[in-house]
């Protein structure tokens, strides 16, 4: 059987894109790109209303998208083995910068999160770790036997916990937890036994109250208090959550109409173009608008998992899945916060919220996923 004949007979997903496919040659995954563009267009549409019809805001957001897409496109050109090679280096640099942040970082709002890099500007090292941590865990398991042995689990946990502790020290508990999660999901993908998962969940249930009393900072404790009982201080800490729930609830099934949300446009809703933009969407476009957004998100996550499913080496598979799940966790945490299911943690709604370096980080992740998908080779 000639190789061409062999290829012809393979199921389509194993055959890979044809050489005539422009997207394939540019190392871009068309469905994923389409999903991302749809979400971003939708996001700009909401941001126009949330930002008070400010065109400049949209222009600045577009600039970030442009930077993000460039990063994505550039990363997609490299084969996954390049990422695999550079992962430990990236992780090492990130770790050093996290230590530096604690020593010489720029302080803002009671936390040291930024590092000033001459000629580059302000930089948040934890943003780098959002990719580096899952990548190193995936790298660690690249040639290990699965399911992981106890020793491997301990090493993987160390990879995760060290940066998480450093970030928690800044203090930025929200990001620390998110980064820890992004590393832990790789462990899960690697086949961590359900018994250990069950034990961990039980441990967290016991440890959480202890954390509250002995580890948390006052401002963190206040956030938890507010989450548990926002009505206790309706004008102070509880204000955000009460107003965002009111915005969502008053939107109803079909919403108040684009540009007609009273909660956001009359400034009752705080942070309406950044962390709480989901409430603006919910208020103006209603449940139907939310379902459309969730559908787009689900499509993107599904495509990422599909890519991961068909990835050809362990590193790629684990990294791809890890990035996809991290993306989903951001959605979950943001929507959960805005709708009053989770405590207030400063997490933007992926690809929708205005500003932040997170857009670039996220698109960099998607660039790696595209690289994974478009650099497949046939296994003989």
């Amino acid at each position: 059987m000639s190789s061409r004949e062999y290829l012809r007979q393979l199921p389509s997903h194993q055959r890979g894109p044809s050489n005539r496919d422009l997207a394939f040659r540019l190392h871009v995954d068309a469905p994923l790109l389409a999903g991302l563009l749809a979400i971003m267009a939708y996001g700009m549409f909401i941001l126009y209303s949330a930002g008070g019809e400010d065109i400049n805001l949209l222009i600045r957001q577009s600039m970030r998208f442009l930077v993000g897409f460039t990063t994505m496109f550039v990363l997609a050109q490299f084969p996954p083995r390049t990422f695999r090679f550079w992962t430990p280096v990236l992780y090492g640099i990130g770790l050093v910068m996290l230590v530096l942040v604690l020593l010489v970082g720029i302080e803002a709002k009671g936390a040291q999160r930024w590092l000033y890099i001459p000629g580059f500007g302000r930089f948040q090292p934890s943003e780098l770790m959002k990719i580096a941590v899952p990548a190193l865990v995936a790298w660690f398991f690249r040639d290990r036997a699965l399911p992981p042995s106890f020793r491997d689990v301990v090493i993987a946990l160390t990879i995760v916990i060290v940066p998480a502790l450093l970030i928690g020290k800044q203090p930025d508990l929200g990001t620390a937890l998110l980064i820890a999660m992004s590393g832990l999901v790789i462990l899960f993908m690697a086949g961590l036994s359900w018994r250990i998962i069950g034990a961990a969940v039980a441990f967290v249930a016991v440890a959480a109250p202890l954390m509250y009393f002995y580890v948390m900072h006052d401002y963190q404790r206040r956030r938890v208090d507010t989450f548990l009982n926002p009505e206790a201080d309706p004008l102070g800490a509880g204000w955000n959550i009460i107003q965002s729930k009111t915005a969502i609830g008053s939107g109803g099934i079909d919403g108040k109409g684009w540009l007609n949300g009273t909660q956001s446009r009359l400034d009752f809703l705080p942070e309406s173009s950044t962390d709480f933009i989901f409430a603006v969407l919910a208020e103006e476009l209603g449940l139907l608008g939310i379902l459309l957004l969730f559908a787009l998100y689900l499509f993107v996550i599904g495509r990422c998992l599909w890519i991961s499913y068909h990835a050809q080496d362990l590193f790629s598979r684990l990294l791809g899945a890890g990035l996809a799940i991290t993306f989903f966790i951001y959605i979950l945490v943001n929507v959960g916060m805005v709708s009053g299911l989770l405590p207030v943690v400063g997490v933007p709604l992926p690809l929708i919220s205005y500003g932040g370096t997170s857009i670039v980080t996220l698109l960099a992740g998607f660039g790696m996923l595209m690289s994974i998908h478009t650099h497949r080779r046939l296994i003989g």
Binding site: A145, L146, P147, V185, F188, M189, A190, G191, L235, G236, Q243, K245, T246, A247, I248, G249, S250, G251, G252, I253, T262, Q263, L266, D267, F268, A282, G286, L287, I290, L291, F294, Y297, L298, I301, G302, L305, S308, Y309, L314, R317, L318, A321, A324, I325, F328, L332, V335, G336, S339, L341
Partner: protein, 624 residues
Amino acid sequence: MRLRDRQRESQIIQMRLIWTLAFVVIVLGALVSRMIWLQWLQHDRFQALADQNRVQTQAIAPPRGLLLDRHGRILADNQPDFSLVVIPEQVRDLDAALNGLRELISIDDDQIERFHTQLKQRRRAWEAIPLRSRLTMEEIALIAEARHEWPGVRIEAEAIRHYPHGDLFSHVIGYVNRINAEDIAAMDEATLANYSGTNFYGRAGIERQYEQRLHGKVGYRKVETNARGRVQQVLEEIPPVPGEDIHLNLDLDVQRAAWDALGSRRGAVIAIDPRDGGVLAFVSRPGFDPNLFVTGISLTDYAAYRDDPDRPLFNRALQGQYPPGSTIKSMMGLAALDAGVTDWQRTIRDPGFFNLPGTTRIIRDWKRGGHGVVNLHTAVVESCDTYFYDAGLKMGIDHIANFLAHFGLGKITGIDLQGELAGILPSREWKQRARKSAWFHGDTVNTSIGQGYMLATPLQLAQTMVVSARRGKQIVPRVAMGAPAAEPQDQLVLKNPDNWPRMEAALADVLHGQRGTARAAGHGAQYRIAGKSGTAQVFSLASDVEYKELDVAERLRDHALFVAFAPVDNPAIAVAVLVENGESGGRTAGPVARAVMDAWLLDGKGSLRDLSRPRLQPDEGATP
């Protein structure tokens, strides 16, 4: 081996990927169900909350009705004023905001305390609480500059009460001031709603008496506001119904004449038109500036009023109770005639004292050496005490008490002002009840010249002249124009109605006769006046230690009284004048009464005007 291993590993990851997808779908489902809960099942509740956020119902205070004198001249109106108000719901740290504002403009402890009291009271949410009134332009600029620092603090324009004549009408018109907890507590729900935009409440005088009519009906404005309380648009407006303007019977010129005639002396003047009971002048001096009370009087100003020995806050006309003295002699004479114990011909010899029958007790006449031979006419004209000692004793206290009650003594007149005192018309029953003691002849003797237990307010004295002028027909005095109070059924009918004109002639001789005690007051009058002077001995003040240091001699002098009505043949004004420590009724109080009567009865050229027409034509009234 390695290949098999890879397959197994691949299966593990593929299983986990499927698990992951399931997890994602389940969690998204959970989020969707949360949205359904919020947006579908709880939609109505959140819709209401959002509207509550956005839509504020603001009460619009109705403009308070004006007070006008009988010719339409303004006695109380409303003027714009800028005040600093706070909406507590919008202030995150109230104490910090208050302290910050105090650094900016002067706000005294009083105002802070009043603010806190009002904060604790039953009030509508999002309602502004006034912190300081009468901001100057400078202060407005200072606050406007710093207003972004304190959301919920703003400057509001409001109409505040203004009394253009200051203290002139203070004791009759009274004043309004900030509505307080007691006012609110006394209101039912409907009234409370009607006052939701109102910051002022009638506190005294006419302002209090006619509060309901003056207030009007509250209006509402539904507005959309943003989170900082700034109004974005008006959604709906129900305009307030302004309070009713109230025309008073008071005449600015008569009031001013009375005020000026009293001068710097302490006292009271009441003038009533006996034809309709309309109160023409109601003066108590010293007065106070009601404008100071409107936005809350400062402690210093209040202490000055409270500690002033002249007691400017004391309403002498309504609440000052004085022995009426000789001013009741005409009524006492009519009582004696009606009882049949004397007539116009009968004479007695007055040696200057009266010997209480059956005792050795001597009671002196005010005139040493006595009046000689006197009949009833001369006894009234010259104010002979001995004549009335004798007559009083002959008719007895029961008859006196019954007869004088017809003139309104011993009971409130029912004037449309609150806090009126009733004085004392002594009787056997009264003494038994109040003093737990029997009635003695000596008491009757004292009562017959208006001394002893007898007390009356200047208003009551004016009322005795109203009844006298109307020849026994009572009428309730009214400050406000409009429907008069129900006519009292009680009417004094003399056994011989001719005694009315004969007594009026005697009273006229008090001013116009050669020997009248108030000849000076009657001199040069363009009309005939019936009047009677009186002096009230100062009992209570003599023992008032507090006053002694000031001017003991002055404060111990008798109070001068004068009552009158005029013109005799067609009475159009009844007057009572009290001058504290004025000594001589005829010489001190009489001229005051005359000035008041001239102001009411004379036209611009100084002759008696046509009393059937208003004193001023409408176009004259327009120019103050």
